[in-house]
């Protein structure tokens, strides 16, 4: 295959660098092939600028019909592979058609870019941000280079964050009242709460709190819903009696959560649920699911407790 690679070897190297690469925070990102790489991290309204250099293979020239850089926000559905939907597309022309004989560097800048959605890597859907450099050529096809980057958007603590409190049960069998201290949690938050047993007529074996993620893609008849259990956290071991209250303290930091995404461009949504599961001695499961909102808290902002 060497000759093939040689044959299709691009006649030039394109490199994309961010101007603040040295100071910018990098975060791990799992690529399609499973590899984890470190990528620069941005948030909406930031300026994205840097340099793109094109360096022809020594002794060759690059003849082109123009060079451009695009900033793309794309949504990719896995069942519709290869079809990207660009919800953001910005273009900067870098060079007019011509020929390049030696390394040539082009600065670029996208100012105050609106990037409303976070990078997301789900089961059936992926949302990514990428810089795409295209050297257009007529007959030989274009030379393209990509540079991914990650976008995370931070939220201030929500002004209203009510607790979730509910009494549920099966008549004459099991009545419980549970309470989670908030309805909105940030990614490193702690779920604190308790379960109060009002009536227990079954022999409970244990009780877990699960964190479930519900990823919904597509719309209408093509809706795909994927639910994952990200955490299974045992809250109670054994059979309580009436009047017992069991504390909940679940640290969210060990789990790989994302913020809740509500209707991203009519393409997909990601929601989180707390699922309280009681299992009785005959392994029957009794559960109650409650949606919670996960958000990414601005660093250095304090959370009202």
């Amino acid at each position: 295959m060497n000759y093939l690679i040689g044959a299709f070897k691009p006649s030039c190297n394109i490199s994309i660098t961010f101007s603040d690469a040295k100071t910018r925070k990098q975060v791990p990102f799992k690529k399609e092939n499973g590899q984890t790489v470190m990528l620069p991290l941005f948030q909406s309204q930031e300026n994205i600028y840097g340099k793109i250099s094109v360096e022809p293979v020594p002794g060759k020239k690059v003849e082109h019909n123009g060079i451009k850089v695009e900033l793309l926000g794309q949504i990719e559905m896995y069942f519709d592979r290869g079809n990207f939907y660009d919800f953001t597309s910005l273009v900067r022309e870098l060079d007019i058609p011509g020929e390049i004989y030696e390394k040539k560097t082009f600065p670029f800048e996208f100012s105050k870019v609106e990037m409303p959605y976070e990078t997301y890597n789900g089961v059936n859907v992926r949302l990514r941000y990428v810089l795409k450099v295209t050297i257009s050529r007529g007959y030989a096809g274009s030379i393209v280079e990509y540079q991914d980057f990650v976008v995370r958007n931070y939220s201030p603590p929500p002004p209203i964050n009510n607790s979730i409190k509910m009494e549920v049960g099966i008549e004459d069998c099991l009545h419980i009242e549970f309470e989670y201290n908030k309805s909105k949690y940030h990614l490193k938050d702690i779920i604190i709460g308790k379960i109060y047993f009002l009536l227990v007529r079954i022999k409970i074996k244990n009780m877990d709190l699960e964190i479930r993620r519900r990823e919904s893609t597509g719309s209408g008849a093509n809706t795909h819903v994927e639910t994952e259990t990200l955490a299974k956290f045992e809250l109670m071991d054994g059979a309580p009696v009436r009047g017992e209250s069991i504390p909940i303290r679940l640290f969210l930091s060990p789990y790989e959560l994302t913020p809740t995404h509500k209707n991203i461009n009519n393409k997909f949504s990601v929601k989180y649920y707390l699922n309280l599961v009681l299992v009785d001695e005959e392994d029957r499961r009794y559960f109650k699911q409650q949606e919670i909102t996960i958000y990414r808290l601005e660093e250095n902002s304090s959370v009202p407790s």
Binding site: E179, N181, I190, G193, P254
Partner: protein, 270 residues
């Protein structure tokens, strides 16, 4: 009602970053352990381990001989050197001696740090119920003891006569690997009572018994007056240290190196 979470709620600082470890060191200790299957090895050949510095001492004796008082009167030695005497004194003042009998239920221990030959040891002193009805779960805690202290009341012949039972019971239940040489220490307590006038077990008799059981070190103490308690525990600690130097080392039946490596990389349960 929300469960308050004062102690942990605000913690946002970085977690200890100790997730990686030296693979070299791991494989070294593994091969070493494999070559030494469950054999007793004297200290210099064992890997340096913190478990060697923990010593377990069991105090046994009849109800009311003063086991709890002895344990309570033994000062801990967090500070050593010259300030030590001073510290000791303070504790005696602080810990009020209670003349009155209070039964012990189950087994109870306190830990004390002791210095011995420039090394710091944690002494885990187990006080036990003298009354059988308060020992309902049995004596599984005897296991792994490094020294056993037998206490009697010099004013009670019965408590002295029972030392033999306590000793034998201990040897049966704890089943130390070398019962002949297991370190015991005998304490005759309450020498202060009635100025010694109500004493019924003579020192001679007690010493003779100790001699007959393999020269068990013997001390006469008064937990109330703090007489000889320190000396007795120094001896106990010394004997425990000696005994603790030899220890069984557990080795799992099969060590699957691959599995070990794999589980390691898959991260911890928490």
């Amino acid at each position: 009602m929300v469960v308050a979470n004062k102690t942990t709620g605000q913690s946002s600082s970085v977690r200890p970053n100790r997730l990686e470890s030296s693979d070299q060191l791991r494989s070294l200790s593994l091969s070493l352990s494999l070559s030494l299957r469950s054999i007793r090895i004297p200290r210099p050949y064992t890997m340096p381990s913190r478990r060697r510095t923990l010593l377990k001492v069991i105090i046994l004796g009849d109800s009311g001989v003063g086991k709890t008082s002895l344990m309570n009167q033994y000062p801990s030695m967090r500070d050593h050197g010259e300030s030590y005497t001073q510290f000791c004194f303070l504790l005696y003042v602080n810990k009020k001696f209670s003349n009155q009998y209070k039964a012990t239920i189950g087994a109870d221990f306190l830990t004390k740090e002791v210095q011995f030959e420039d090394r710091l040891f944690t002494l885990q002193i187990w006080d036990t119920a003298g009354q059988e009805r308060f020992q309902s779960l049995g004596v599984a805690f005897y296991r792994g003891a490094d020294c056993c202290v037998l206490v009697y009341d010099v004013n009670s012949m019965k408590s002295f006569d029972n030392l033999n039972n306590w000793r034998e019971e201990f040897l049966i239940q704890a089943s130390p690997s070398d019962p002949e040489n297991f370190p015991f220490v005998v304490i005759g307590n309450k020498i202060d009572v009635d100025g010694g006038n109500s004493r019924v077990v003579s020192e001679k008799k007690a010493r003779a018994w100790c001699a007959s059981k393999g020269n068990i070190p013997y001390f006469e103490t008064s937990a109330k007056e703090g007489i000889n308690v320190e000396e007795a525990f120094q001896c106990i600690a010394k004997n425990a240290v000696k005994s603790g130097e030899e220890d069984e080392i557990y080795l799992p039946d099969v060590i699957d190196v691959a599995t070990v490596g794999q589980t390691r990389s898959s991260g911890c349960e928490c």
